[in-house]
């Protein structure tokens, strides 16, 4: 918890340890939380279907970036293998659901578990290398995993992928986006809570010690072997669940749905939102989504001016904007939107006095 996070509004004191450690400390906090949850729960009733789909993909991205937050933001290990781990989760869920006939409620967590096993295997090099070298080794993991997924056609369906069906729960059919939204929402809320609490537990403090200096952490008695692999396992679990949800969201385990660049963009979300905080993950993912929506509006306008640009201008434009956002964020505000948010909050809390 940063310094700004401890600064309380005038007149509010924490008299018990529990109250001091609580995520939501004041009644106003709880009010905001409940209002926000009610807003999310009622969202399908009043937004347009395309917008709802944007929100759903945003939430899936948030789950994946929360995993990245644990491995990169807390534990400091650079990973470019996110998309591959998501693909593993997605394919595992699709294979278990279609070939073994397991229900949706089992295959999504199992997809996460299988992804975390693969994550542990490709996390092994992190015990000897770090920095650029680790980035490159996870890059290798990406290419290897994607190659196997496409070539192992008897199991994964090769280039065609695997078609899956959204689940049923008693009388409720989750085939429609409006209903499937609730599954994604509940998963996102649960995993956010989990991710938030990891950083408040001994495990999270061990991760942060490793991030700040792994040799020093080892001398302090933190078992690097155990904790680095644990970080890879937890992070890949999040990715696997996100991948499984995405597979059911597009109702297909698709070999081309996991490009390497998406891993770069997810790292970008982390840095733009503010690395090392759960709030930052939300800011970053939402910011990227906003840029994407903006590019979708700007794209046709640009094609109208320069007709020689391809029809896919919106997709390229969004990614160019994302890249520029990362560049500017790294140069001018490496601590991200969350840092600005904390400054604004503490300004508001101590107002009208400067201290």
């Amino acid at each position: 918890m940063g310094l700004a996070g401890n600064r309380l509004p005038c007149g509010i004191k924490n008299y018990t340890y529990n109250r001091d450690m609580a995520i939501f400390r004041t009644k106003l906090h709880w009010g905001w939380l409940i209002a926000f949850l009610v807003f999310l729960l009622t969202m399908p009733l009043f937004v347009s279907p395309p917008f709802l789909r944007s929100v759903m993909s945003l939430m899936i991205t948030i789950v994946a970036v929360l995993g990245l937050h644990i491995i990169v933001g807390l534990c400091g290990q650079i990973s470019l293998g996110q998309q591959a781990f998501m693909a593993v989760g997605g394919y595992a869920a699709a294979i278990l659901a279609t070939k073994f006939g397991l229900p949706f409620w089992v295959v999504v967590p199992l997809g996460g578990v299988i992804a975390s096993m693969i994550g542990i295997i490709f996390g092994l090099p992190s015990l000897r290398i770090k920095g650029f070298y680790l980035a490159v080794s996870t890059l290798a993991a990406h290419f290897l995993i994607m190659y196997i997924l496409i070539q192992w056609a008897s199991v994964t369906g090769g280039d065609n992928g695997i078609k899956v069906q959204r689940p049923l729960l008693g009388p409720i059919d989750f085939a429609s986006d409006q209903n499937f939204y609730y599954i994604i929402l509940v998963t996102t809320v649960l995993l956010t809570f989990f991710a938030k609490n990891i950083s408040r537990m001994a495990v999270g403090r061990a991760f942060i010690a490793i991030r700040d200096n792994d040799l020093a952490a080892e001398i302090m008695g933190i078992n690097l072997f155990y904790y680095k692999l644990l970080a890879f396992a937890i992070s890949s679990f999040f990715c696997g669940v996100a991948g499984a949800l995405y597979t059911f969201y597009i109702t297909r385990a698709d070999p081309v749905a996991w490009p390497l660049l998406n891993s770069v963009w997810q790292l970008g979300m982390l840095i733009i939102g503010g690395i090392g905080s759960v709030m930052g993950v939300f800011f970053g993912a939402a910011f990227f989504k906003l840029l994407e929506l903006m590019a979708a509006i700007l794209g046709p306008a640009i094609v109208a001016i320069v007709p020689s640009f391809q029809a896919s201008v919106a997709a390229s434009l969004a990614e160019i904007l994302w890249g520029l956002a990362i560049v500017f964020s790294l140069v001018f505000e490496p601590r991200g939107i969350n840092h600005r948010w904390e400054i604004t909050k503490s300004l508001y809390r101590v107002w009208p006095f400067a201290y």
Binding site: V72, G76, G268, W322, G323, I326, L330
Partner: protein, 290 residues
């Protein structure tokens, strides 16, 4: 000459291109400890720019190459000045992300302007084959190989004899010390970027003329990352040797094991290297202090 000999020979020629791109990584890494993922996008940009001059504007291939280089030099100076200079000394994560973002931007700009379709240069070079010691090899491959040798010996000479090359070696050794002896460190780093960018762009054009101009040229850039790490990030001769080894492995795997398998063999090699000998063949093992 036997089939095996011919395969090894063409492997060496392919490997030369990898070496040249890997040299760019090594140069930048030596100068300012930045591992430049954008190198692969420079290749792509070079190949497409040359295609634009060669086919869209109808210029001869050598002039297109010169014009591409003429764009590459100011581009790399500019990139060094704006985002990259403020990255020196930042955390590995920031540097990796910054160069990846630059890679993505350049790649998407190429897609925006030229789309993803396969293109070929208008040039006799790509069609012509010549006979060397009983083997038929395409002229563009021979030229690529000669270019790689030229770059390699040119750089070796440059680092041994020229003033700015000596400055580069001094900067690679110790930036602060180099600055205090009166070397303009920023200028030296800018030159490293320019050389790396130009070399990568030329390699991109070579790849385009050996095969065709596609977005897959970038994959060669990723192979060059492997080459650079295999050889050791600090070693120029390491990059050269590792490139040739990888080229020979590529051709042999394609010929005797299976064509498609080659897309993953380099990454398996890379993982093995990183686990067993992380600092490469000729790299310096760094000792870390808390």
């Amino acid at each position: 000459m036997s089939l095996l000999g011919q395969n090894i020979f063409s492997g060496i020629m392919v490997g030369c291109v990898y070496s040249v791109v890997a040299l760019g990584f090594v140069l930048i890494y030596k100068a300012c400890r930045i591992f430049n993922f954008a190198q692969s996008a420079f290749m792509l940009l070079g190949a497409y720019l040359a295609w634009f001059f060669n086919v869209t504007l109808g210029l001869p291939i050598w002039l297109s190459l010169l014009l591409t280089v003429a764009i590459g030099v100011p581009l790399s100076f500019g990139l060094e000045r704006f985002p990259m200079r403020s990255m020196i000394g930042q955390s590995d994560f920031s540097i990796v992300l910054m160069t990846l973002a630059l890679m993505a931007i350049l790649m998407k700009v190429v897609t925006l302007f030229w789309g993803g379709r396969v293109k070929t240069y208008h040039s006799e070079l790509t069609m012509t084959t010549m006979t060397m010691g009983g083997m038929r090899v395409s002229l563009s491959l021979v030229i690529s190989c000669l270019f790689a040798l030229l770059v390699f010996f040119g750089l070796a000479f440059f680092f041994q004899r020229s003033r700015i090359g000596l400055h580069m070696r001094a900067v690679a050794e110790d930036q602060v010390l180099a600055q205090s002896t009166g070397i303009n460190v920023n200028k030296v780093i800018a030159y490293s970027w320019a050389i790396a960018c130009v070399v990568a762009m030329c390699a991109g054009v070579q790849m385009g003329s050996i095969g065709s101009v596609t977005l897959y040229i970038q994959d060669v850039g990723f192979l060059a990352i492997i080459v650079a790490i295999f050889g050791g990030l600090e070693s120029i001769s390491g990059a050269f040797i590792a490139g040739i080894v990888l080229g020979v492995v590529e051709v042999l795997v394609r010929a005797y094991v299976g064509y498609g398998l080659f897309t993953v063999i380099p990454y398996i090699i890379l993982l093995l290297i990183l686990i067993f000998k992380p600092y490469g063949l000729f790299g310096l093992e760094r000792i870390e202090r808390v």
